[in-house]
């Protein structure tokens, strides 16, 4: 077996798979490597219906989108290595551990679609067992069908916090409260309304002051906050719970891009430092592309569109489907713009535009 691929993709989530499908469809020999036992990244724990338009598969549940992508990839002959870890990038060599063996892959193009990791919070007791990321809860209930606890308090009112609180209710847990330090709910009102009408109190202007328990979380003390996020005297409430969900955002998983030597830009809106990339998703390193949450935390639908862009561009750079590439990319970009619109999407669209502008500037500086 030769280990020479046209395109090696790190990460078989929505971005990675979409990239692989587009690249393979155009004839590129494509491999996707993922450390998990199942492909699909976070898609298979998304049991809710996606937003968007028909083209974005709106109304289809996340896992169903994942199944369709996988079937497409299989049909097109995309190779997918699961339980396989990309542990280093050394120039154009991708170091992978697979089945207890170290394999060095030579790739003509590399697409990094490594996603994001959940942010941690720091309060006394945050390291107690039972305090866990909302994403971890979602994996437990939707993938492994295990309830992490019976009485849950969720911290964070972004879409992740709202959706996971809802799915906990569906799974049979009691969500005692959802708390949010800001004065308003961060995620979609429709998600918030779903849990509110199930009786879950949504406490804005509130945070978790501390968690307590012997060997396992047994309760939390909530603190009411003033406008400058300082605790209001006498504003403490104690709740008896057995699980705390933490949904305070995600950070792009960028180590491989740093290691490769990509230039970075800081974008608070997108979750921190992200690799600088152009409109084709190519980083400042020729032949290294990025797609999905590694380029800034968004949603699965935008991740798939970015993946398609990277897949089309990387394949075209190798001569596959080059003639139609510009038209294909333009179609993807316009779909992406639609997703990044309205009061919830515009901030991300602006942040993304800034990245492209800075990339252009970096390129002109070099010339």
């Amino acid at each position: 077996m030769t280990n020479n691929y046209d395109i090696v993709i790190a990460g078989a989530g929505p971005a990675g798979l979409a990239a692989a499908v587009e690249a393979a469809r155009r004839g590129a020999r494509t491999l996707v490597v993922d450390e998990n036992t199942k492909p699909g990244g976070q898609l298979f724990k998304q049991i809710h219906k996606f937003f968007g338009s028909h083209e974005h598969k709106a109304g289809v549940r996340g896992f169903a989108i994942g199944e369709k992508l996988l079937a497409e990839a299989a049909e097109l002959g995309v190779e997918v290595w699961l339980n396989s870890v990309v542990w280093g990038l050394f120039a154009n060599k991708v170091a992978v551990v697979r089945g207890g063996e170290q394999i060095t892959l030579a790739a003509k193009k590399i697409i990094l679609a490594t996603g994001a990791s959940e942010n941690a919070v720091a309060f006394p007791g945050a390291a107690l067992p039972g305090v866990m990321g909302a994403g971890a809860i979602q994996t437990m209930i939707n993938v492994h069908r295990v309830l992490p606890g019976k009485r849950v308090v969720m911290l964070g009112s972004g879409n992740v916090g709202l959706i996971v609180a809802y799915q906990l209710l569906q799974a049979g847990a009691e969500v005692v409260a959802l708390v949010e330090a800001a004065s308003a709910i961060g995620g979609y009102g429709v998600h918030a309304a779903k849990i509110r009408r199930a009786g879950v109190p949504i406490l804005v202007g509130t945070t978790i002051a501390r968690a307590f328990g012997r060997g396992q979380v047994e309760g939390v003390v909530l603190a009411k906050l003033d406008e400058s996020f300082q605790p209001v005297p006498g504003g403490e409430t104690t709740l008896a719970i057995d699980t705390v969900g933490i949904a305070v955002g995600l950070t792009p998983l960028t180590e491989l891009a740093w290691m490769a030597g990509c230039q970075f830009v800081f974008s608070p809106r997108l979750g921190g430092h992200v690799p600088l990339h152009d409109a084709d998703m190519e980083t400042t390193l020729s032949g290294v592309y990025v797609a999905g949450d590694i380029t800034g935390v968004e949603e699965a639908s935008t991740a798939m569109e970015e993946g398609r862009l990277a897949g089309i561009a990387a394949a075209a750079a190798l001569g596959y489907g080059a003639a139609a590439a510009e038209a294909d990319k333009a179609a993807v970009r316009s779909r992406m713009d639609v997703l990044r619109s309205g009061p919830f999407g515009l901030g991300r669209r602006t942040a993304k535009a800034e990245i492209l502008a800075q990339r252009k500037e970096a390129a002109s500086c070099r010339e």
């Binding site: 990309v86 542990w87 207890g100 919070v121 309060f123 950070t251 960028t254 491989l256 740093w258």
Partner: protein
Amino acid sequence: MPGVKYSGRLSDAELAAVLPPAERLAQGPVAVIECVQSIPCNPCEKACPFGAITVGDDITALPALDRAKCKGCGLCISRCPGLAIFVVDASGDEATIMLPYEYLPLPAAGDVVDALDRSGKPAGTARVLKVNTAAGLEGTAVVTLAVPRKLADIVRNFRPRGRDAIYICRCNEVSEAEIRQAVREGARTVAAVKLATRAGMGLCQGRTCRRLVSRIIAEETGQHPAEVLPATARPPVRTLPLGTLAGGEDDE
């Protein structure tokens, strides 16, 4: 009835006899010997390298401190079997108190602890500046606390907040207080904090804590979060067994 005989706490009158005058406190560190009963005991006399403490031939006499000779070195603290000697320095913006401490676990420099008064009541917040555990102390640690100046004569003990510590790096159990202390001592980058505290050097290689560490650095130094770069990424980004990295057997 007030007084050490009835409550274990020195009365105001008893304190008046042992507390240094404000002028002396303002001049720099000085011993405070809170020993007011005629116990047959004199190790403090020998402990002082400057001859500032005198008990005399009758070892039940109370120790007399010559505050002009006392340099506040603290060598007497661990030698007092009654743990009755403290060194107080109120010459700066905040006061420091050196006190004997014989509980485990010991605090670490940088810890924030609850300062306690002579009755064991919380008196405020103290910062541990130093924990001296040298062998010559015979198991009595000498802990230096920083407290607000007005508490110089009040604070005589402390309680660690160990169970309430905020852990930032879970792999290596590095607390928020330790990270803040490292930043205050000059570590202004994630890499420097990592070297100074081991935060981010554990199994997860900083994936859990780096964002929190960056935020603390930005807060402490006033840098913009964009300027606080992550530590250098080095392979492997996931753990792998040494044998796997080594490749096929005898492949050297």
